[in-house]
């Protein structure tokens, strides 16, 4: 019996005096969601990881400008090229040694290429001697920029489209839904490639190309939510008090579907990151010397057999960021809608 009282805690009422009250203090939707999210360890770790990555990407703007990561010493390419990661500690695989294919022992590349003793590159260097740590830092920045801006456009377009379609109903809704149906039956790859070709590469064109395909999911979700919410009494009340449709959408509809929208955003960002990498792999990505995670992967992938770290490090970065977004999205979905995950 005593054990059971420990399991049963009145939420938000920690001290014993508050426990005497019959009603628990009211938690707002957001407080309640936050309380549930905190119980999900993976989601919390992801949240902190993403906060760290975003802060890192932002701060690195001032510490490490593009040019610094792009520049290389053309006289010393032979000295600095393709150096494996070296931590300075005797960790296997992280000590500046690499085993060439066919060899049985690993060679210390730093010694054989006569790199000055004091210099070490924790993530190694690329084929013209640029520090991979710097390249990955700026690449991560570009990839995040592309993904976040594209997602933001998706958010604006998708929410506006979805609310309009659901709110108007009738033939407007019908036409708008057919448009979505048609667009979503064309493979995203095709739309992204076509736009990439027409707009001619560069960061802005990638953002637009990715945004063009991403808003469909958001629009569909928001429309479904709008259809449900517009039947609610508070909307009827607002309507009968003479509130304009626009204000109803801003003040009543959108705040009430914020949970759905946030979860959708979390799922859009990894897709955008992935499509950026796909575009890079088919030569429609950022233009060199600009680096993105995708361009780093595809540039180095031809030398995978010899310098695997050049591919695997940016790949791992891309996967970690995507994974964090998805885990956080999963956690948020459960936190916003506990009924969906409980049994």
């Amino acid at each position: 019996m005593a054990a059971n009282t420990q399991d049963f805690v009145i939420v938000g009422a920690q001290d014993s005096e508050a426990n005497e009250h019959i009603a628990k203090p009211a938690l707002s939707f957001w407080q309640d969601a936050w309380r549930r999210l905190k119980l999900n360890k993976l989601a919390v770790i992801s949240l902190w990881f993403l906060a760290f990555i975003l802060a890192f990407a932002f701060v690195s703007n001032f510490v490490m400008p593009q040019q610094q990561a792009n520049s290389f010493n053309s006289d010393k390419v032979g000295v600095y090229k393709n150096l494996p990661p070296k931590s300075g500690l005797p960790i296997p695989g992280w000590s500046g040694q690499i085993k060439a294919p066919g060899d049985t022992t690993s060679t210390d590349v730093y010694a054989s290429q006569n790199v000055p003793k004091s210099e070490k590159f924790i993530l190694g260097t690329d084929n013209i001697g640029r520090s991979l740590a710097k390249r990955v830092t700026v690449g991560l920045r570009i990839s995040l920029l592309v993904a976040l801006v594209a997602t933001f456009i998706d958010l604006l377009v998708g929410v506006a489209y979805g609310v309009l379609s659901g709110w108007k109903g009738g033939w407007v809704d019908n036409v708008m839904q057919r448009i979505i149906e048609i667009l979503s039956s064309v493979p995203n790859l095709i739309i992204v490639t076509m736009l990439g070709l027409v707009l001619g590469g560069g960061v802005l064109s990638i953002i637009l190309a990715i945004a063009m395909t991403g808003w469909l999911g958001m629009a569909r979700q928001v429309r479904n939510m709008t259809l449900t919410l517009k039947e609610r009494d508070y909307v009827l009340a607002a309507k009968s008090l003479g509130e304009s449709s626009f204000k109803i959408a801003i003040k009543h509809l959108i705040p009430n579907m914020a949970g759905t929208i946030i979860v959708q955003i979390m799922m859009t960002v990894p897709t955008a990151i992935m499509f950026e990498a796909v575009l890079s792999a088919i030569n429609l990505g950022v233009k060199p010397p600009t680096a993105s995670l995708g361009s780093l992967i595809s540039d180095a992938s031809s030398m995978l057999q010899f310098y695997p770290y050049q591919v695997l490090i940016p790949s791992a970065m891309l996967v970690l960021v995507s994974l964090a977004f998805i885990l956080l999205g999963d956690g948020l979905r459960d936190a916003f809608d506990p009924r969906a995950s409980e049994d």
């Binding site: 294919p101 057919r178 149906e181 048609i182 039956s185 064309v186 493979p187 995203n188 790859l189 095709i190 490639t193 076509m194 070709l197 027409v198 001619g200 990894p270 992935m274 990498a277 796909v278 792999a281 088919i282 030569n283 429609l284 992967i297 992938s301 995978l304 057999q305 695997p308 591919v311 695997l312 790949s315 891309l318 996967v319 995507s322 994974l323 977004f325 998805i326 885990l327 999963d330 049994d343």
Partner: protein
């Protein structure tokens, strides 16, 4: 039912027409030309343009293309002389189709098994592990997985060949796995939630009350009903496979249409790009249509919506 199918077919044809039209006009405003060799004399250029019908007025080019596309003729490739686009695609399509089908079958079957295992062991270690595996599966893009597989099983422990197609079945193992992981992960997550819902439904309660063993309940009642909604996933999965397979074909040097598509982008081979686009769109739409019709046949409630 027939009315539903006809309606969907009409929409499909209309969409295909739109895709052809939009791609055609996008290609017109595309920067760059395939004939930018400075050695070409104006006469030779004019000759080339006549050969490819590029000197005709735009509306006539469009009309010719549309009529040709209806007959399965997408013009002649710019980069390979005297190779018609439909022939190029025709040679490569079976390869891509086989790869895609293998990946889809492997992925869905693996997903069905893992999803059911996960739901039956809800909230214990098996479920937790499968949950982590499937979340990883959806966050790793297939081309990164392909690269990692090449590195691990091609170079580090050379167990499988990492390039080519058609010489032996083992060549298709790594690309199939790389492509199958994402469908498997999606199916796992989906089947798990469907099955958990099914296990708490009234008919399962009834089966329990009748005294059926847990095994029978799962196999005879819960599993069947949670498999139907998986059908609706096949459309989006096919779209994902299209994207994935272009890069996977590139990584494993598989002579499929994806590889062709990627190769024709830098060389501005517009007829090939357009032809592939139309074929891709048609394939995806037919896949979605078939799954929708199947779902409507199996689950009559869908038809009412």
């Amino acid at each position: 039912m027939w009315k539903y199918i006809l309606k969907r077919l009409a929409l499909l044809l209309f969409t295909l027409f739109l895709v052809i039209t939009v791609t055609f006009f996008l290609m017109q405003i595309m920067p760059g030309t395939p004939f930018n060799n400075p050695k070409l004399t104006p006469e030779a250029l004019a000759q080339l343009k006549t050969t490819y019908g590029l000197d005709l007025p735009l509306w006539q080019q469009y009309w010719n293309y549309l009529v040709g596309a209806l007959h399965g003729d997408f013009g002649t490739s710019f980069q390979y002389q005297n190779q018609s686009v439909s022939m190029l695609i025709g040679q490569r399509l079976p390869v891509s189709a086989q790869l895609g089908a293998q990946a889809l079958v492997v992925g869905v079957i693996a997903g069905l098994i893992m999803g059911a295992a996960s739901a039956r062991n809800k909230n214990n270690k098996i479920d937790g592990t499968l949950g982590i595996v499937s979340t990883l599966g959806i966050s790793v893009p297939s081309f990164i997985l392909g690269i990692v597989l090449v590195y691990l099983f091609g170079f580090k422990w050379p167990l499988f060949p990492v390039s080519g197609w058609g010489d032996s079945f083992s060549q298709s193992i790594l690309p199939t796995i790389a492509l199958a992981v994402s469908p498997a992960a999606v199916t796992t997550r989906f089947v798990r939630s469907e099955m958990i819902e099914a296990l708490s439904s009234d008919y399962v309660q009834l089966a329990k009350a009748k005294g059926l063993s847990p095994k029978e309940i799962v196999n005879k009642h819960a599993y069947r009903n949670s498999m139907i909604p998986v059908l609706t996933l096949i459309g989006p999965m096919a779209a994902g496979l299209l994207t994935g397979s272009t890069l996977i074909e590139q990584i494993f040097s598989i002579p499929g249409i994806g590889q062709q598509f990627v190769l024709s982008i830098p060389s501005k081979d517009f007829p090939v790009i357009m032809g592939t686009t139309v074929v891709y769109a048609a394939m995806l739409m037919v896949m979605i249509l078939i799954t929708d019709i199947l779902t409507a046949i199996i689950d009559p409630r869908v038809r009412l919506q």
